[in-house]
Amino acid sequence: MTDHRPSVMTGVRDRAQFGLCTALGLLGVFVLVDASRIGAASSSNDPIGPRPVPILLGVLLVVVAVLYAVDVARGGRGEEEAGEDVDLSTRADWKTIVMLAAAFVLNALLIQPLGWVISGSVLFWGSAFALGNRHHLRGLAIGIALSLATFYAFAIGLGVNLPAGILQGIL
């Protein structure tokens, strides 16, 4: 809901929105810079070539970023998404996000050398820990059970690409 109440009445204006506008604008500039690098490769069977579309998108992104910033400056505010388990009255819990991202990155780094069964277990256990689970053994047990089950069901049963890693030959 765009809320056009003046900021004086609502007290704090959601200034973080300007960050989003900046990001959109920068994305637009990046798209434009990248487009300028593309060779003019138009030919008779493709008169407009690969450049106009990114240029159009870049310009539109910059325009929308500016309009968005104007909307925010006038007190516009995007409605945060609600949900079954979402409590919007609390401040964002950045510690959890950072821990989740760490578990995620760890999985990405470990999946090829150690294999999905190990990296997936770590991912599950780490994410559950980040989300407040303090039953470490139970978390780990569920993680291992899930990764083993998915490995056997998907990689072996259905031929989905999941690496066995160092457990190759054991699983």
Binding site: E81, E84, A92, V105, S127, N161, L162
Partner: protein, 500 residues
């Protein structure tokens, strides 16, 4: 008659023991995952994509049909028993459904929702059989300029009709379009926005985008605002309805179906509008208007039917034109593309067995759902009590698995995290998710048809204008865009008239 034969062939393809087992698996897993709090139908389909990777496309479609209706039904169970729905389409169901549950009528609310969904889904699927081939007949005659114009209608529809802020919708659409052009240009072979990263040369996989935005983004968003006291789940027994419940439900089911189907078929926000319309209609027509707001069964029966009928309606543009009008259809299209099947007007001609098998399995899945859900509701309700750390850890686990399995490269996992953070930001700032996904899916097609049209005209912009179909389409685009200004002007003139 011809369609009926095709449909019978479709049933023949589906009615093998293995395929029936897949349909059963689809509805069971779809409902189970859909019931989980925080997981709506779109995310259900996105998370369950990897199950289908190793399968034949027809089998994958059979499974999807089950997941599709199962996920929808699961979502309404959650909103009846938990009250705070995640989907905009089940918001209306929650209004009366949760009141009914609190008043000890959870069994009846679930029953009217299950039977209403079945009826609406069955009628809706029959309408697909009737309408879809006609739309294909019309669509197959369309040239590139017309197709381009229709895609623009879809873009405007999902951005401007839906949601509260058009500006935020357009921002999301533009980001999606930008994601779609990453990779090698299909005509000239030039790299665009790849930053020299070889893994980006083939473009960003739509499945990775869908899983990142829907699953990872949602999990991160919930994680940042996790409710520490879990919401209260209302216990429920076997769903059933008394005679008066039936009497009060059957008309709302039919009216909901009539409202839902056409709205699903046009790009105007899927189930949001028809469920609200159905609720208002039932409130007006009810013999017990005083019960509305306190748990009127009509207020569950109508919107639930509208919800399911609109889900069926979305399959018409999806199968006939390759246009997604809601998030779930968008992800199913992504899945089709993953099989190397190009959605669009030629789909029915090129892959008739696949399409008809999908439609046949919609009928079967819908029936299985009814048989399964009436006795299993108490078991589903137990799923609502799953500890949240395990639930969201599980979502991240399956999301990573699915995204990795697309191309078997760890790079996609980093991409997934980046897209998840984008999804987080969009939820934080109230940017709608659907325009982004539609932009990613249709971006390349829009560019290709646009460029083809200009090729026909030798680069002259008039090539985009095409024939009468595209004129109408552009007219719709302009009307949708100008509408708020027009409405404002109308209000102003009326006010000044009143003042005068």
């Amino acid at each position: 008659m011809d369609n009926l034969n095709h449909l019978l062939t479709g049933f023949g393809d589906v009615l093998t023991p293995l395929n029936l087992a897949l349909a059963l698996l689809g509805v069971t897993v779809g409902t189970g995952v859909g019931v989980l709090p925080g997981i709506g139908p779109a995310m259900t389909v996105a998370l369950l994509l990897p199950i289908t990777y190793g399968m034949h496309p027809t089998q994958a479609m059979i499974l999807f049909a089950g997941i599709f209706y199962g996920g929808m039904y699961g979502g309404s169970t959650t909103s009846i028993l938990l009250n705070t729905p995640g989907e905009s389409s089940s918001v209306v169901t929650a209004i009366e459904g949760n009141k009914m549950a609190k008043a000890g009528r959870a069994a009846q609310a679930l029953a009217t929702s299950a039977i209403g969904s079945f009826i609406a889904g069955t009628i809706g699927t029959m309408l697909i059989v009737l309408v879809m081939p006609q739309v294909v007949k019309f669509a197959i005659s369309l040239g590139a300029p017309e197709y381009f114009a229709i895609i623009l209608v879809a873009f405007t529809g999902v951005t401007a009709v839906l949601g509260s802020s058009r500006l935020r919708g357009f921002a999301a659409l533009l980001v999606g379009l930008t994601i779609s052009i990453v990779g090698i240009d299909f005509v000239t072979g030039q790299q665009r926005l790849t930053m020299g990263i070889p893994q980006l040369a083939d473009g960003i996989d739509v499945v990775v985008v869908a899983v990142g935005i829907f699953a990872v983004g949602e999990a991160l968003w919930v994680a940042a605002h996790l409710r520490h006291k879990a919401a209260e789940v209302i216990p429920v027994g076997q769903p059933w309805m008394g005679r008066s419940d039936w009497r009060r439900s059957w008309k709302p089911w039919l009216r909901g179906t009539v409202l839902g189907f056409p709205f699903g078929a046009i790009p105007a926000g899927g189930a949001e509008i028809p469920t609200v319309l159905s609720y208002m209609t039932e409130k007006k027509l009810s013999k017990h208007p005083e019960e509305f707001g306190k748990g009127a069964i009509e207020g569950v029966a109508g919107p639930e039917a509208a919800n399911n009928a609109s889900a069926a309606g979305t399959l018409v543009p999806m199968l006939a034109l390759g246009l997604p009008t809601n998030a779930t259809a968008a992800i199913m299209l992504a899945a089709l593309q993953g099989y190397g099947i190009e959605p669009g007007p030629l789909l029915l001609t090129k892959e008739p067995r696949l399409v008809w098998a999908l439609i046949a399995s919609l009928f079967i899945g819908n029936t299985l759902l009814l048989v399964l859900n009436l006795p299993l509701a108490p078991a589903w309700a137990k799923l609502l009590q799953i500890p949240r750390p395990y639930l969201y850890a599980g979502i991240l686990f399956f999301a990573s698995m699915g995204a990795y399995a697309v191309n078997a490269q760890p790079f996609d996992l980093f991409l997934l995290l980046a897209l998840g953070l984008l999804g987080f930001a969009m939820r934080r700032f109230g940017l709608p998710v659907l325009p982004l996904i539609v932009g990613v899916i249709l971006g390349r097609l829009a560019e290709r048809t646009g460029r083809q049209s200009l090729q026909l005209s030798g680069g002259d912009l008039s090539g985009l204008l095409g024939g009468p179909v595209s004129w109408v389409a552009y007219g719709v685009v302009v009307l949708v865009l100008v509408w708020p200004l027009l409405a404002k002007a109308l209000v102003r003139t009326r006010r000044s008239e009143a003042a005068a």
